[in-house]
Point group: C2
């Protein structure tokens, strides 16, 4: 479903520059659930952003399916993201002027696609947002905002979902419900999930855990247990 | 150190209104470390904001020391917060145009107080921010931003620290270092800590855990274990 080859990412220039990724080669099989773990600052978000085409690598290649997305134009990249990718941002990135419901359906609305109402209801009820759909982000708790960001990435049922710490501000019940839902997206719908987390319990829902350290892959584990 | 009496908080009006706190009476003893836990949306951030005078309750009283802060003017409240309170926001609330170092010393700079350099170094080294002090928030990872928010609340060594999910985006090592530091603030410096968390491991650093459910205190536990 996705693959990187020799991915390097450098921010800034000269002596203030930071090499966030130092040559990362990873493969993400179709209908696989991978957890990306590692210390704060080790390059997890940078890897996810490069994989989703939200940031361009300094060196190396990124493939979504068979397409090398580093060769695409901005317009083609936006099209590909809209059709194939769901992204849950670490800082949620909700639109403050839209309600929770409008934030959730935004990717579909922009793409001019219809919302599958039954699926929308399932996503909303799993994330427990039924009685907050009319609220704007500032009228929601931190964890409720995070769940809106999660719902937004799932409602279009994309081929591949990149989720950056999707349960960081959730209590264990809300967290388990979202993780079970992600697991079902893989098992029942053949979607591919790449999830950054530092929570071993969240990682136990994945098939595999990849550990980053200082911009490199330092370890890998099949069937991570909590 | 702090106390609430019959705290109620209602957001919004009419049928869109939300009763976030439904009568909360709690006492926080000097040099105590309390964890506030509970489901997403149960009122934890609202309680912390009312306690620190960042939001005004609909009903009830809040005391910092012997002072009923619900009777203070905006100016007196700002003065009290500056002199006695440190606050770690769930969304960090860093100033984007300032570097990490400037964000950390901002409360002291505004108050016209000197920065205790040795203490500043200790806070920075505990939070692992030494080689990111010159970076702006957008040049920091999510967990690094969270640690800057933590350092900012601790560098002025306030009487009472309110921390809202301070380890939500940290790996276990960074998390343990911050929590150990909070513990030392209580044990070595007699500071009072009130920390919202949904992580049982973080709560195990506290003397006591208070559980909120739907805007009310539903349970309390001494010496919470992970
Ligand atoms: N400005 C607002 N207008 C309307 N409702 C609000 C507003 N702010 C918060 N709420 C509601 O009040 C309730 C309590 O919010 P609060 O932020 O205190 O919860 P919380 O326990 O901190 O949750 P979390 O763990 O998700 O951060 C939530 O259900 C939320 O939707
Ligand atoms: N725009 C930038 N300019 C300079 N350095 C940056 C920039 N963005 C990120 N970095 C640095 O690159 C490194 C990797 O950042 P990244 O956000 O990928 O880490 P992370 O693993 O997601 O961390 P966390 O778990 O804290 O979210 C960090 O040390 C960070 O300081
Ligand atoms: Mg990150
Ligand atoms: Mg909160």
């Amino acid at each position: 479903a996705a693959r990187t080859e020799g991915l390097r990412k450098v921010y800034g220039e000269g002596d203030a520059s930071v090499e966030a990724l130092r040559g990362v080669t990873l493969e993400f099989a179709v209908a696989g659930f991978t957890a990306i773990m590692g210390p704060s600052g080790s390059g997890k978000s940078t890897l996810l952003h490069c994989l989703a085409g939200l940031d361009s690598p300094t060196e190396g290649h990124v493939y979504i399916g068979d397409v090398d997305i580093t060769t695409l134009s901005e317009r083609q990249l936006t099209q590909l993201r809209r059709d194939k990718i769901g992204f849950v941002f670490q800082a949620y990135n909700l639109i403050p002027t839209l309600t929770a419901s409008e934030n959730i359906t935004l990717p579909l609305d922009i793409a001019g696609r219809d919302v599958d109402r039954a699926w929308f209801d399932e996503v909303v009820d799993t994330t427990g947002l039924r009685d907050r759909l009319g609220h704007k982000p500032t009228e929601l708790s931190g964890g409720q905002q995070q769940r809106v960001a999660g719902a937004r990435a799932l409602v279009s049922r994309p081929e591949i979902v990149f989720a950056d710490e999707p349960t960081g501000n959730l209590d264990s019940r809300s967290s388990d419900e979202l993780l079970t839902f992600l697991r079902a997206a893989v098992t029942d719908h053949g979607q591919t999930i790449v999830m950054v987390t530092h929570d071993a319990r969240a990682a136990s829902y994945a098939d595999r855990a990849v550990f980053l350290g200082d911009g490199q892959v330092v370890d890998e584990m099949q069937a991570p247990t909590a």
